[in-house]
């Protein structure tokens, strides 16, 4: 029983991070029909910015805020300068561009920050809470992870549901030409969408780094998990991305917790889940309509 609780709790915590990363992918997919493979290295770049600030003596929170702002700026600039010229063109062009960006940013991080492992701090403890005399796998850090992802999601929901800008962003996502005819500055909305997505991606990058190590490619497995979670949720649905992330987090946690030598199977399992979903429900678990053409 105790093991089940622990495995579930750590699965939920990991799942929250996958959800955030998947959400970043979905936000961009919805508005520009591009899978942003560079999301991971963009997030890694902001984590290194945060680390530089922390090493310079500032607090974690200052570093967090600066990193998220840097993420927003980076996302917006990438859309405006690099993605805009290939938007609306053949889909493969955009894919190649984001893949190229993924490699380029990762290489740039290695050049500037070096490729050695560096430890990344966490503002809260990593010792589990104790109930009676048993220690459970719920740590102050995991509460912080879950809490911060929930706060960011709530803010996004509020933005999309209750503000004029959010309305314009949704309109742009559903019909760019029509939105333009109605006076919506579609280009601006796309830039904003990429910026916000990069903030969410960057948050997931900082959270997964917390209490562990960062190196230029430390986001690679999160990219895979986030992508699987997004596809699981239908790639088009923010709610789907969140649920997909949680399902994946739990599934991988159970596999590594219960299967003999399961931790070695985690990466493979994620890909198996991806394949099964694509074979059985190509539109994802939350596809509202028929799967759209990629």
């Amino acid at each position: 029983m105790q093991q089940f609780v622990n495995v579930t709790l750590s699965g939920l915590t990991q799942g929250m991070i996958y959800s955030a990363f998947a959400l970043a992918l979905v936000l961009i997919w919805r508005s520009t029909r591009i899978v942003n493979f560079a999301q991971g290295s963009m997030a890694a770049a902001t984590a290194f910015i945060a680390l530089a600030i922390i090493n310079a003596g500032a607090s974690y929170w200052v570093a967090l805020v600066v990193a998220l702002i840097a993420g927003f700026v980076m996302g917006a600039l990438v859309e405006r300068i690099i993605i805009r010229p290939v938007e609306g063109g053949p889909e493969l062009n955009a894919v190649i561009v984001t893949l190229g960006l993924f490699v380029a940013i990762q290489a740039l991080i290695a050049i500037i920050a070096g490729s050695s492992f560096q430890s990344f701090p966490t503002p809260f403890g990593v010792r589990g809470f104790t109930i009676g005399d048993t220690t459970i796998a719920l740590t102050p850090t995991s509460l912080y992870v879950i809490g911060s992802v929930l706060v960011v999601m709530a803010l996004l929901v509020a933005l999309f549901r209750f503000t004029r800008t959010g309305l314009a962003m949704r309109a742009s996502a559903f019909g760019q030409e029509v939105a333009r005819l109605l006076g919506v500055r579609v280009g601006r909305m796309l830039t904003l969408g990429w910026g916000l997505a990069a903030v969410v991606g960057s948050l997931s990058g900082l959270l997964i780094a917390g209490g562990g190590f960062v190196y230029p490619a430390y986001m690679d497995s999160l990219i895979v998990f986030g992508f699987v979670a997004a596809v699981l949720g239908g790639l088009d649905s923010p709610i789907g991305a969140i649920v997909g992330g949680l399902i994946l987090g739990l599934a991988l946690s159970y596999i590594s917790g219960y299967v003999d030598r399961g931790s070695a199977l985690v990466n493979v399992s994620a890909l198996v889940i991806l394949m099964v979903v694509l074979l059985v429900r190509p539109g994802g678990l939350f596809a509202s309509s028929t799967a759209r053409r990629a």
Partner: protein, 292 residues
């Protein structure tokens, strides 16, 4: 929130003040060629303030192309567009709403993932005052703004009798209701010129009659440019009509003058059959889309 923060009583609740239309759209010598094929050659028309101007012609006559020129989707190779006494150079679709021009689309073009009310709210976008960042941060000014936007959109739905569908998604509604919502979305911006692209397609007889009355009523506060295949509707609601055939203007005038013009009947059918029968035939086909 103190009483001073309340909106003035008329700004939100009565978005559609009566006003005498004064703006005039003039298109002169418009020519468009697609890859060497002339879609329009030297077409001119003027939509006078407060008039309903019909644009008719057989399939492939260039009606939709001219429409797209008027809203910046197609840039003419020659000719000028004048609106409110100013020439519109390099007109872009995104500037339309600021210029006081709204257009509806063939079909409906509603945003599938937005509710009916939200669809209409997007149309009122240009009336919102809150800046980009106050809207993003949901500051109180933006909040008030959002409420006004919502009221305005609701008002537009009420005017078209579609307020009962405010919370529904467009895909779940019958086609005529969707068309009314699309019209509400065009009207909510309170335009001075309304471009209607086949508003009657897919409507039943009585709905078309209602639409005709609505268009007439609208002309008290805006000008209307109408592309339509249903001749009885066109003849009933238009003040003036321009007839295109193969990209050229073959007739222009009042409905009576156009109906009496032998060039018009000839263009439609090649011999002198009356326009009513022709209208029926055209309604049966899916006309005018050759230029899309």
């Amino acid at each position: 929130m103190g009483p001073l923060a309340q909106p003035p009583p008329h700004s939100g609740s009565q978005p559609f003040e009566e006003r005498t239309p004064t703006a005039r759209l003039e298109m002169t010598g418009i020519s468009v060629a697609f890859g060497g094929v002339a879609a329009l050659s030297d077409v001119s028309l003027a939509v006078e303030p407060g008039q309903v101007h019909g644009l008719i012609g057989p399939n492939g006559a260039g009606k939709t192309t001219l429409f797209n020129v008027a809203c910046g989707l197609v840039r003419p190779n020659a000719g000028r567009i004048t609106w409110r006494d100013q020439e519109l150079r390099r007109l872009k679709p995104s500037q339309l709403s600021k210029l006081g021009i709204s257009r509806t689309l063939q079909g409906v073009g509603l945003f599938a993932g937005l509710t009916v009310l939200e669809n209409v709210m997007v149309g009122a976008h240009r009336h919102a005052k809150a800046g980009f960042f106050s809207a993003l941060l949901a500051l109180p000014t933006a909040d008030k703004d959002d409420r006004l936007l919502r009221e305005r959109a609701t008002q537009a739905l009420v005017e078209l009798g579609a307020e009962g569908y405010a919370g529904r998604y467009p895909g779940s509604l019958p086609y005529p209701v969707q068309k009314r919502v699309a019209l509400a979305r065009a009207l909510v911006a309170d335009p001075e010129l309304l471009l209607l692209d086949e508003p009657a397609s897919g409507l039943a007889e009585d709905e078309m009659h209602e639409l005709g009355e609505l268009i007439r009523a609208l002309s008290s506060r805006m000008s209307v440019l109408l592309v339509e295949h249903h001749m009885d509707l066109v003849m009933k609601v238009c003040d003036r009509i321009t007839v295109l055939d193969s990209g050229k203007q073959i007739a222009a005038g009042t409905p009576a003058e156009v109906q009496a013009d032998p060039a018009v009947t000839e263009a439609y059918l090649g011999d002198d059959v009356d326009v009513e029968a022709d209208a029926a035939e055209l309604a049966a086909t899916d006309g005018g889309r050759a230029n899309d």
